[in-house]
Amino acid sequence: MKAQYSRGVLGVSRSLLLAIYSLFALFPLIWMIIISFKSDAEMFTTTFIFHPTLSNYYSVLVGTDYLKRFLDNLIVSVGAVIVSVIVGVPGAYALARYNFKGRESLAFTILSFKFAPEILVILPLFMIYQKLHLYDTYLGLIWVYQLITLPLLIWVLRGYFEDISLEIEQAAQLEGYGWFHVFQKILLPLIMPGLVSAGLLAFIFAWNSFTFSLLLSGFKIQTVTVASLRYVASDTVHYGYMAVAAAIATLPEIILALLIQKHLVRGLSFGAVKG
């Protein structure tokens, strides 16, 4: 009897704690949506009950260049991931298969990019970019973003490559397949889950990046993250617009997260669990 009673209490308190955290985690997003649909007139006077309007959305999307910023972000993020895949797949393969001097140092160096303070890289890069005319260019940002996207891809993919026994490659070679075929028909399918997870995760990290865009690009190119701050900095704070900016910036990721949450979790925890 007592056990049942205490389990009942435990169960309730457990659910309660979960509910509290869930509220904490999710309500801000809901609130953001709510405000984005509130007109100026009703902003200060109503809480949950109001007349939703699309005027804020209209103003931001049509009235400002926010949409262009959204596209900028897309170009840079996708570009960075693509470059990281092109560089990272062979890099991960080399780290997994070839035993050369300084292999672990190289691996650790690449990994340490993720931990490096962004400002540290930016300060000198700011000047280099001016000289190389890379300031405020897509290419410039894509290059810097490698700091964010490359370590992730290499770390995850290296594990996947190490899991594929060398003998499988050797068997394919003996059967008459050239190395390109081996890569395409054998290696690629086997690393695909890892590639997808890591790629998606890298995209999200790139999308969310702020500092690089803030300081290494200015006028022609701005990511939504930087652009959104404009709405805070202005004198007349237009809360509706703020909410819209936040919502638009966040929307793609929420959709992505819903669609491929399994991959995301795998990508995040893969390296960790495998060690």
Binding site: L17, L18, Y21, S22, A25, L26, F27, L29, W31, M32, M43, I86, V87, P90, G91, A94, R97, Y98, N99, L106, S112, F115, A116, P117, E118, I119, L120, V121, L123, P124, L125, I128, Q146, L150, Q170, N208, S209, F210, T211, L214, T225, V226, S228, L229, V232, M242, A243, A245, A249, T250, E253, I254, A257, Q261, L264, V265, L268, S269, A272, V273
Partner: protein, 314 residues
């Protein structure tokens, strides 16, 4: 490509037909070619680091075109300024508070989510969302929440008799606000890792414990926790390294204010370099931070390897 690079030491034989010993150039070059892109990118990224170190030893400033080598003067200046020690303090407070709270609460929630039921399954997906949000956007969202005029939290606190809670505008509560936002974004990271760890735990020790009749807390303390240590370690490493150099959240929130309350090392470096244009002077701040992070991460990774060994000894 099956030949590892160290096997290509073709000893020259005294046989006259040593031409059979020469491995064709395409095969020999292949490993280098494969490694090349990563090497190029790595060197390309290391280059600014090296530059940063060099510049920190100069009096480079955006105001003048020329600069001179002044040795360790910038470094000495930095250590003697109160600004530096304040920044170091803020950096550590912020890092410890956010990492600590994320670790403990993240683990707790992961444990709560360990039951299998319809709502935990739904929550497992939904609770990833905050992690997906860009930190700067999170700052925006929280400002919408806490704003004294339109924020819902304000209305909530009014119910408890608290009016005009200053959130980020007061020195007393600014750090708390920043940590809350950091926690909001990154707690799911710990949750995901902890859940992955919990799921990969072998069943047999728990079954044995059940037979032996231990209480839930006992089981947790002696079995669950030690086996989770490696993955929790990883979570700590990531969060600690990131929060030590956090720039975005603080910049988005108050740019370091009010006053200098939230001026951690990253923000200070940024200010000195960009706002005050004292480039050479700004670098020691951030180089110091980097050194700190590098050393700590080395120690932690070494430690982690040991913890891994211990955990798998079960």
């Amino acid at each position: 490509m099956t030949e590892s690079k160290d096997e290509q030491s073709g000893e020259s034989s005294k046989n006259s037909s040593s031409k059979y010993m020469k491995i064709p150039i395409e095969v020999k070059a292949r490993p280098y070619l494969i490694l090349a892109p990563s090497l190029i990118v790595t060197i390309g990224i290391l280059y600014p680091f090296v530059l940063a170190i060099i510049y920190s030893l100069t009096n480079y400033s955006f105001r003048s075109q020329t600069y001179h080598f002044i040795g360790l003067q910038n470094w000495v200046d930095m250590f003697s300024k109160r600004e530096f020690w304040h920044a170091a303090l803020v950096t550590s407070e912020y890092a410890l508070a956010s990492t600590g709270s994320e670790l403990i609460l993240g683990l707790g929630i992961a444990l709560l989510l360990n039951r299998d039921s319809w709502y935990t399954r739904v929550l497992r997906v939904l609770l990833i969302f905050p992690l997906m949000v860009a930190p700067v956007i999170a700052v925006l969202i929280w400002q919408l929440m806490t704003n004294n005029a339109v924020g819902i939290l304000e209305k909530l606190l009014n119910l408890f008799g608290l009016f005009n809670f200053p959130w980020a505008s007061s020195a007393k509560t600014a750090l708390f606000t920043a940590v809350v936002i950091d926690f909001w974004v990154y707690c799911p990271f710990v949750i995901i890792l902890a859940r992955a760890g919990l799921q990969s735990l072998p069943k047999s020790p728990f079954e044995a414990a059940k037979i032996d009749g231990g209480s839930a807390w006992f089981t947790f303390k002696t079995i669950t926790l030690p086996m989770l240590k490696p993955i929790l370690y990883i979570a700590v490493i990531f969060r600690l390294m990131a929060s030590l150099q956090e720039f975005t959240i603080i910049y988005g929130l108050t740019k370091g204010g009010p006053g200098n309350t939230l001026m951690n090392l990253s923000i200070t470096a940024y200010n000195t370099g960009f706002a005050f244009m004292r480039f050479g002077k700004s670098l020691p701040y951030i180089l110091f931070l980097w050194l700190l992070i590098y050393i700590i991460s080395q120690r932690l990774v070494k430690n982690w390897l040991a913890v891994q060994k211990a955990a798998s000894g079960y």
